[in-house]
């Protein structure tokens, strides 16, 4: 596996196959460069979404009530949701780390369809530009919430048509990436890499890609129907013409609930890569984790109506959806127990990626368990449309996927850039981030239990203390994120050179130079054992 015997090939950052300058990036078909293109774009959108979130929190400190109007506030929670969900969390880990790592994980030189991969990025950017355009044109930014519920979304005068078109275009990006990854995993695995020798991230990406293919077209057509409704009045969601708004909710959530597994599964995959490396032992229960990814994708596709327990459906349907919802907890718990068991008796080296991975497990457990609570019909009615929901999905999406994104970024940063960051600064950023996160979102859970409705511009005095704590928490959270991003940007620009394998990982990406050469491997490796094959400590 030695790659440095003779003159090493130039890295993908230097060698663009003969192209130079900006064109070398914008016309690249190299999966690693495309991964970075996604990372830069998403980093920008994340910061915009975060800023909007901070302003919303400021509004909830009553002294700043006149900061924005009620209508602007409606637009802000819509735009915050659209940006964070469609431009950051859904594409997040698959587009950045899936693109960068999946071909390397399976021992390939690129994805199956490199040009289609670049096209996905352009669809993503086009969708993002349309989404941003929708904010500043027409009759004001959309004010429906990110879920675009009919009939309000077909009646409101704001710029919903353009915003849903943006989501439609982004859906194309997601589907094409899914097609690419599935074909890559089926067709491009290196000799000897059987399905059960793939790193677990590949299993997660595989399950995710199937959801992208099977669920995204449903939301695409639903959004087309909203556009047609607004443009021509076809009547499918309009009760005055015989249409059914509840049908909209079903069709929307048939995609948008599985979409939360698009968000979380790759995050779980990343965690499954990080833990063995820092525990220096094989993952516990490889097959359990692999199959739990598939079963989360499968069962998770059948639970959508738990978003609609108050929208009107038969009691029998409610029971079925409640039961199925709780079933999702089983494969999720299998993963958590296997992760914790991996650490047990491991030879643990505590590094920033592990800190974030462990934060993920802690926060994801809170997010997951509050999810089971909402699966119960009685509790669901009580907390429906309250801050409890907001707190819950921020625990899963931000505490889960967001922290896993940071964990993955910190873990693979030396591989992607060839540079090492200042670990002390990362720890210094983690403290306010973790503390602020829990101040912000745990308080939301409490506020929701007390009855604070979500999306309200004003709040009653009894919720005031909670809102103040949450707002202060949002400042700590933002501070921590800024410290970490600044540290990483500094490291990318002038960090110390990172070795090929700074963490002592054993998967394929650590066997090639940092940053990797354009074609990843000088010759396609022959795989002779599973992915987490650590040399016995006694032999070492």
């Amino acid at each position: 596996m030695s790659t440095t015997e003779h003159a090493p090939a130039p890295s993908y950052l230097e060698d663009a196959g003969g192209k130079t300058g900006l064109a070398a990036w914008l016309t690249t078909t190299d999966h690693k460069r495309i991964g970075l293109l996604y990372l830069y774009a998403m980093g920008l959108f994340f910061l915009i979404g975060m800023t909007i979130g901070l302003v919303m929190r400021l509004v909830q400190l009553t002294t700043f009530q006149h900061l924005v109007s009620a209508q602007t506030y409606n637009a802000m929670f819509t735009v915050h949701g659209v940006i964070m969900i469609f431009l950051f969390v859904i594409p997040g880990l698959p587009a950045v780390f899936g693109n960068f790592l999946l071909p390397i994980f399976v021992g390939a030189k690129d994805v199956a369809f490199p040009r289609l991969n670049l096209a996905s990025w352009y669809f993503f950017i086009a969708g993002a530009i349309i989404a941003v355009t929708s904010l500043f044109t027409g009759h004001g930014a959309p004010d429906t919430g990110w879920s675009f519920y009919a009939p309000f979304s077909v009646k409101t005068g704001t710029n919903v048509t353009l915003a849903v078109f943006a989501a439609f275009v982004l859906g194309f990006s997601s589907m094409l990436t899914g097609i690419n990854f599935i074909t890559t995993i089926h067709r491009m695995r290196a000799p000897g890499m059987g399905w059960f020798r793939m790193p677990l991230f590949c299993w997660a990406a595989y399950a995710t890609s199937w959801i992208q293919i099977l669920a995204t077209p449903i939301v695409a057509i639903t959004l087309v129907l909203v556009m047609l409704e607004r443009l021509f009045g076809i009547g499918v969601f309009d009760p005055t013409k015989g249409g059914d708004p509840v049908l909209y909710q079903h069709m929307f959530w048939i995609y948008s609930h599985p979409a939360v597994y698009i968000m979380i599964l790759p995050a779980m995959g990343a965690i499954s890569e990080i833990l063995p490396t820092f525990a220096k032992r094989p993952i516990f229960g490889y097959r359990g984790i692999a199959f739990s990814s598939l079963s989360i994708a499968g069962v998770g596709s059948l639970v959508w109506a738990h978003h609609m327990f108050t929208s009107g459906m038969s009691e029998f349907a409610q029971l079925v959806f409640s039961l199925l919802t709780m079933l999702v907890a089983i494969p999720s718990a299998i993963k958590v127990f296997n992760w914790v068991s991996t650490l047990y008796k491991g030879s643990i080296s505590f590094e920033p990626p592990l800190l974030f991975a462990m934060s993920f497990i802690f926060l994801f457990c809170i997010g997951g368990l509050t999810g089971v609570m909402q699966g119960a019909l009685a509790i669901n009615i009580h907390v429906h449309d309250t801050y409890f929901i907001v707190g819950h999905f921020h625990y899963v999406m931000f505490g889960g996927t967001g922290f896993a994104f940071f964990a993955a970024l910190l873990y693979w940063f030396p591989k992607m850039t060839g540079k090492m960051y200042n670990k002390a600064a990362i720890y210094a950023g983690w403290v306010p981030m973790f503390v602020g996160f829990n101040m912000l979102y745990f308080t939301m859970l409490v506020l929701g239990m007390m009855g604070m409705p979500r999306r309200y511009y004003l709040h009653l005095p009894q919720y005031h203390l909670g809102h103040q704590i949450a707002t202060v928490g949002s400042w700590f959270l933002a501070l921590g994120i800024v410290i970490i991003i600044v540290t990483l940007v500094r490291a990318a620009l002038k960090g110390a050179k990172a070795p090929a394998n700074p963490w002592g990982g054993v998967t394929l990406e650590w066997q090639i130079p940092s940053p990797p050469p354009l074609e990843n491997f000088e010759e396609i490796p022959l795989i002779e054992h599973g992915p987490y094959h650590f040399p016995q400590r006694s032999e070492a």
Binding site: G18, A112, I179, L225, V236
Partner: protein, 203 residues
């Protein structure tokens, strides 16, 4: 290093797998509309019956025959290519595209007749119909319209394949691209086969 950067990696099976996965997304896309259709039809069985009676079943069936024939010529084009009969392959491919055009012309006549009678979303006449019939025509225009868009897309794809045939980029030993184009065309055909009974034969 750069001269063999991204060496042309050929995997016909992989290309076909990718195409089939894309077809899955298309089927699910229309699947969403079929869900909406089923829900609405179970709400309004009588209105859907009346709506279906307004449609011209003769034109619908004619168009079905046109599309089925075009699928046949598509397959014949691929078969001719595999037997290295380039002239025949091109001729059949052009026939396929032409039949797609015939379908669209018939569709245009049909739609303009509906518009002429004020049967389109948002018309004054439409507002006087019972709600279920309004939804029927809403779905009719949406689903046949989206299908029409796919016919146009399919014709463009096949037209592009025609130029690739001319340039020799599709040839007797490299026919997977044409095969994939054909798969897409058959999908367009198959979706129509479901639309026909759901709308034209609903009465």
């Amino acid at each position: 290093m750069s001269e063999h950067a991204h060496t042309i990696h050929r995997d016909d099976f992989g290309d076909k797998l990718g195409m089939w996965l894309f077809l899955v997304t298309e089927i699910v896309l229309f699947g969403g509309l079929f869900i909406a259709y089923s829900a609405m039809r179970s709400h309004y069985p009588v209105e859907f019956h009346h709506g279906g009676a307004e449609l011209n079943a003769t034109l619908g069936v004619t168009n079905t025959v046109v599309l089925l024939t075009s699928s046949l010529t598509m397959v014949l084009s691929l078969a001719a290519l595999q037997q290295a009969d380039m002239a025949k392959a091109k001729a059949f491919l052009l026939t396929t595209i032409g039949l797609g055009g015939v379908f669209l012309v018939i569709k245009t006549f049909e739609w303009s007749a509906k518009f002429h009678h004020g049967l389109y979303p948002g018309s004054a006449h439409m507002g006087t119909l019972p709600p279920g019939e309004q939804v029927f025509f809403g779905l009719y225009f949406t689903m046949t319209g989206l299908h029409g868009v796919h016919v146009i897309a399919g014709m463009s794809v096949l037209g592009w394949m025609y130029t690739l045939l001319g340039k020799g980029k599709i040839s007797t030993d490299r026919f997977v691209t044409l095969e994939n184009g054909g798969l897409y065309w058959h999908l367009v055909d198959v979706i129509w086969i479901f639309l026909l009974p759901l709308f034209y034969l609903a009465a």
